[in-house]
Symmetry: C2
DNA sequence: CTGAAAGCGCTTACAG
DNA sequence: CTGAAAGCGCTTACAG
């Protein structure tokens, strides 16, 4: 059953069938109705590939979750609560506009080949990248090839010309880190440590900066031993805390994401310390888990759903209007106060 | 840049280019190399739609997460930890075979139209369904139209002819529920309640049956008041426990999934009771959250990753061999004992 | 408002 | 081993 069959049955030409399907104006209402009925009766659906070949755009967007490291349990980060709500929000937003989303997980550098191919072979007409390190060359190449791309959490500096053709959606990592640290200071903490995220990622760098600014404002001297590197995985949080507490005795730690807090809590418990009595903790992300932890985790909420909507809707808009347009959003974050911090007397 | 351009540059015909790309035998090694080089040099990638139109199968499979209810917080269930690992496992398995996955979330009945369209317009060559109620008519229609489908957690009874052309992957809900309940009995519990899942789903029914069997074996009379209906959402777990504890005083509850346990724990806490001192709890699923709860939740682990691999690999195989084949797997589950149950003296 | 025809970029018998 | 040609199922100027 194809357009010719429908045309024959309806007693019109294939052109007319096509016009009805594409909802063009120049068809008599009567003809339109007749064709529509027959389409419905025979359950006809146009062949998507044929439509594309003949000039229609793909209504598929790609969602690429970049995750080049496992935690030591062999769990991919993508399994983690962080990406899941983002993914479903993208799907939701896309489906509402009759778009579909094809998602893949990029674990190794070579997985980018698959991603490239999806753009080049026209399977997808646009793509969203989340989770990568800053200025990932593979992403830049794709943008430079003229494809529509939205990136989440990528720094756009002046040298980064390519991003000036894409949609950038960032949360306010700097502001969030600043607020989180300031909150600890306001509670009376002075010995405030920081566990960083993966410093190849923009967010991790900004969070360090936010932390430093708050300390500076609070007149608290910055001490290098109080900053320990992590990489956003639970395991790295565990190790970082163990390392930190070997030499230092902070009363509070601002940790660059919630996953690392999980590891941190385990480490702290193993050391026989209590949260928040001995150590206060603030995380970042507000993953689903956060509110179920004991104590419930104080953390900075990233409005991932909004970010997904912004990225998806703008990307589809750019695609529909056949332009690469530039947009750069910085989405505000919110400190969610729960039970993992105590007030110093 | 298309196949003709490549052919021209390489000094061969388009047929030969095509043969090289498709890795057919009948090309001189020399010619093959030359063409390959030029393809690489010009970064040529064949147009997927053209390939499909000309007879190649789509290398995209659909993943359809059926979730026709929200919990009362407006969170879609798909956001929940349950589907996330399954999704990434499907993507992983597919990507390994150079397939891609397009996923959508089915919230309302009309979303099935989109799903149907993806099959009918040949965007996808096969699809996996998870989360639906039993014998969902829309799924059956698709199977009957001859498309390759894998279903997760669907009962296949004798009347269900359609499923005899599809791949069915179920976990052993009955066995898991039986083990869970038996475990409580072995701990000395007698007043064991059950909160059911959504009874339109196969899994929920089987779990009730497993619960009943264990009681029967243990010589514990079945009491209707001890079974309260839920629908797998956190909120329903909360309400069910409130309702249950109005009239009954169970010392243990077997709850049909972990999400409902979350609600149950909240309800129990509000009533001033302690887990496991006053009430023991066993869940089902072993979502990521389960081990972080306080107390860590004893629950039945479903090997979702295995199930995802089975479904995906079999589906791709069926697709490659251009057959609908039937397979019906029942995957064993495992009771994970943590801290939410106590031994009765 | 409608139809005939060209063209999208491939693959695959068919012939040699 | 290789090429010319038909065909996949649409859309879109073009002409009327």
């Amino acid at each position: 059953m194809n357009a010719s069959d429908i045309a024959k049955i309806a007693g019109v030409s294939r052109s007319t069938v096509s016009r009805v399907i594409n909802n063009y104006g120049n068809v008599t209402e009567e003809t339109r109705q007749r064709v529509l009925e027959i389409i419905k009766e025979y359950n006809y659906v146009p062949h998507a590939s044929a439509q594309m070949l003949a000039g229609k755009k793909s209504r598929i967007i790609g969602l690429f979750i970049i995750d080049t490291k496992d935690d030591n349990h062999g769990n991919k980060m993508c399994t983690s609560s962080y990406f899941s709500p983002f993914t479903s929000a993208v799907i939701d937003a896309a489906n509402k506009q009759r778009y579909n989303v094809l998602s893949t997980i990029v674990n190794e550098q070579q997985d980018f080949n698959n991603v490239r191919e999806l753009f080049y072979n026209k399977t997808i007409s646009a793509g969203i990248f989340i989770g990568g390190k800053n200025s990932e060359p593979s992403i830049i190449e794709i943008i430079e090839s003229g494809y529509n791309v939205a990136v989440i959490e990528q720094e756009v500096s002046n040298e980064q010309e390519p991003f000036s053709r894409s949609i950038v959606v960032n949360s306010d990592s700097f502001g969030g880190a600043y607020e989180a640290t300031k909150y600890l200071i306001q509670l009376g903490h002075i010995a405030i440590a920081h566990i960083t995220g993966d410093l190849e990622q923009f967010t991790a760098i900004s969070r360090v900066e936010g932390y430093k600014k708050a300390l500076a404002e609070g007149g608290i001297p910055l001490r290098n031993n109080m900053i320990v590197k992590g990489n956003y995985t639970e395991e790295s949080g565990y190790k970082a805390v163990k390392k930190l507490l070997l030499k230092e005795t902070p009363t509070a730690i601002f940790i660059a994401n919630d996953s690392m807090c999980l590891g941190a809590m385990r480490a702290i418990e193993e050391l026989g310390l209590k949260i928040p009595e001995d150590i206060s903790l603030v995380g970042f992300d507000d993953i689903e888990l956060a509110r179920y932890l004991q104590p419930a985790l104080t953390t900075v909420r990233i409005p991932l759903l909004n970010m997904a909507f912004m990225a998806t809707n703008n990307l589809i808009k750019a695609n529909e209007e056949e332009i690469n347009f530039y947009a750069n959003y910085k989405i505000p974050v919110e400190l969610i106060i729960r039970d993992s911090c105590r007030k110093m007397k």
